[in-house]
Amino acid sequence: MNDIVIQTEAITKTYVSGTNEVQAVRGIDLTVRKGEFVAIMGASGSGKSTLMNLLGCLDSPTSGSYELDAVRTEGLEKNELAAIRNQKIGFVFQGFNLLPRTTAIENVELPLLYDRSGKKRDTRALATAALERVGLADRLEHQPSELSGGQQQRVAIARALVTEPALVLADEPTGNLDTRTSMEVMKLFQELNEQGITIVLVTHEPDIAAYAKRIVEVRDGKIRLDHEVINRRNAAVDLQEAA
């Protein structure tokens, strides 16, 4: 059985602004298997954000091939990319990016409403289950403004999980959180990973990357280092020690 979730071959991305050409990604080969927990690290300007946009099918590579969960994505139409984002990827952003003045359950339900695969599902029940999974069963009808930062990020994670995607893509998920809340969120990610969910985490903080199983370091649009995490941190233990 093919358990490869991400497979890129020599993908590049070149931005043209005026007469300037900027090569943000210069040929990256990356393979991520099912159940992996990968941290993509790099300084700002290293090309990690562009790589993340490419992996998230928010953008198309200039050249190279990208296969996500056994689907080739290059040359797909905008609407086809939208469908892939909807069904195969769960996004978690730095700024939470929840819809304001919309309850937690409605936010989590949202990706299911855009699903065009025609599956008949009880979207309410699925959204409730996803929120229970992140420990927010008692916050279903709360609006983002009534939730703490950590809770908001949990809602965002529930929204990413509700479609049962092949890949959870988290872009600096702890960037707006304090140390303790960051640990809580990382604990949740580690738990989800234990349950078999593939996670790709983009971060520039080595402390956060240490919670992943594998680190990919990007510099100048290329992979410089790709290694297993030695001395992997356990968020549950760290939380206990901090308490």
Binding site: L58, K78, N79, N97, L98, T102, L110, R159
Partner: protein, 404 residues
């Protein structure tokens, strides 16, 4: 996305910005209300004019002596005694379409009654006059064919005359004196109020035309003949018939008639079409407000798209298609348009009722107008919402997500 979900998303985002949405809809509300009031008032004015014209008589045809040229000098209308009682008899005998015909022999005279004296118009007419003018007696009866043949001195009086000569007592059976001739009052007519030209319809005494020509004016001259048909459709045919009968009896072959035949429909149509033009004009001015309302919607939607760039980015990132975003904003504009239309409809109907109350006109808002105005305001919403919605749908998810 399901239609229900779409409507929910649209109404939610309108509810989240109640004040702004209300201000946006204000243009549409005013526009629709104005259109509805204008159309209702226009309808009221039209039916009012129609009533006034019908008041003159139903399906009435008026025959008057025409202008005559004597050696190139026109003597103007009604200068000659061209119409004779023989003409009336001939039309009555030969015409198929004319159902009632009466001469009107007009004179003015001082009238004396038990309670006072009064100067008024004496019209010598046939009993058919009652049918032609559609004029009932409120007490007593109209004089008969027999009274006409015998030339009896009987009279039917209008309300104004009754009030002047008999005050509060019932005039029927009493006597009044026209000039020096005593007349017995047979009936009192119902009130017809003012004529279209503003004179008092009820200031009149009707007597048999035979009596009028022999005992009052002493002339055979007939200034006017009134005729009517049993249905409106017959009027043109009856007019042609009267024309040819009179041409024959007046021995006119060159088409240079010495009489004129007119009908009330012409008058009614002219009046109706002029109010129609007015209504149209007012309604089109009012619809400019709808246009302005539409531009208001576009304006707010553009602001809204910019303000909600991040929301659009989130939706696109989690799998909304451009089409989904487009539909969402279009439905929002549509809902605002229709909601504005509904509110405008309510204000419009209330306004029309108010105008009707103060003018006494019958203002009617037809269901068709309601449907059209709601449909139109929805269309305005979609039309002016399309550009902002397209702008939203075309956003790049990466940039939209980064938008602060």
């Amino acid at each position: 996305m399901k239609t229900k979900t779409l409507l929910k998303v649209a109404t939610q985002s309108i509810q989240k910005n109640k004040l702004r949405a209300t201000l946006t809809m204000l243009g549409i509300i005013i526009g629709v209300a104005a259109v509805i009031v204008m159309v209702a008032v226009g309808y009221g004015a039209r039916s009012r004019i129609k009533d006034q014209i019908n008041n003159l008589g139903t399906n009435m045809i008026v025959i008057t002596p025409g202008a005559q040229n004597t050696s190139g000098v026109s003597q103007g209308a009604q200068a000659f005694a061209n119409l004779k009682l023989d003409d009336i008899d001939k039309i009555r005998r030969e015409s198929q379409y004319v159902s009632a015909i009466s001469p009107v022999v007009v004179s003015r005279s001082q009238v004396l009654g038990p309670q006072g004296n009064w100067r008024t118009t004496i019209n010598g007419v046939d009993p058919d006059f009652q049918t032609i003018r559609n004029w009932e007696t409120q007490s007593g009866t109209f004089f008969s064919e027999d009274d006409v043949r015998a030339g009896r001195t009987v009279a039917v009086i209008g309300q104004t005359v009754a009030n002047q000569l008999f005050s509060d007592s019932d005039p029927v059976g009493q006597t009044l004196q026209i000039g020096k001739v005593p007349f017995t009052v047979m009936g009192e007519l119902t009130s017809k109020g003012q004529t279209a030209s503003g004179s008092d319809s009820d200031d009149v005494i009707l007597v048999p035309y035979t009596t009028a020509t022999t005992r009052l004016s002493g002339r055979q001259f007939i200034p006017q003949i009134l005729a009517s048909t049993s249905s409106e459709q017959d009027i043109p045919a009856a007019q042609n018939e009267i024309k040819s009968i009179l041409e024959e009896s007046h021995k006119i072959t060159d088409g240079n008639d010495d009489f004129t035949v007119r009908n009330q429909t012409d008058l009614a149509q002219a009046a109706t079409s002029s109010t129609q033009v007015m209504t149209l004009l007012m309604a089109s001015i009012a619809s400019i407000s709808l246009l302005v309302g539409g531009i208001g919607i576009m304006n707010i939607m553009l602001v809204s798209v910019t303000e909600r760039t991040r929301e659009i980015g989130i939706r696109l990132a989690i799998g909304a298609r451009g089409g989904d975003v487009l539909t969402q904003f279009l439905v929002e504009a549509l809902v605002m348009g229709i909601a504005g239309g509904l509110a405008g409809l309510m204000f419009g109907v209330a306004g029309a009722k108010l105008v009707g109350h103060f003018t006494g006109w019958e203002t009617v808002v037809s269901p068709l107008i309601m449907l059209i105005s709601i449909g139109f305001s929805g269309a305005v919403g979609v039309f002016f919402g399309y550009y902002p919605a397209r702008k939203a749908a075309a956003l790049n998810p990466i940039q939209a997500l980064r938008y602060e």
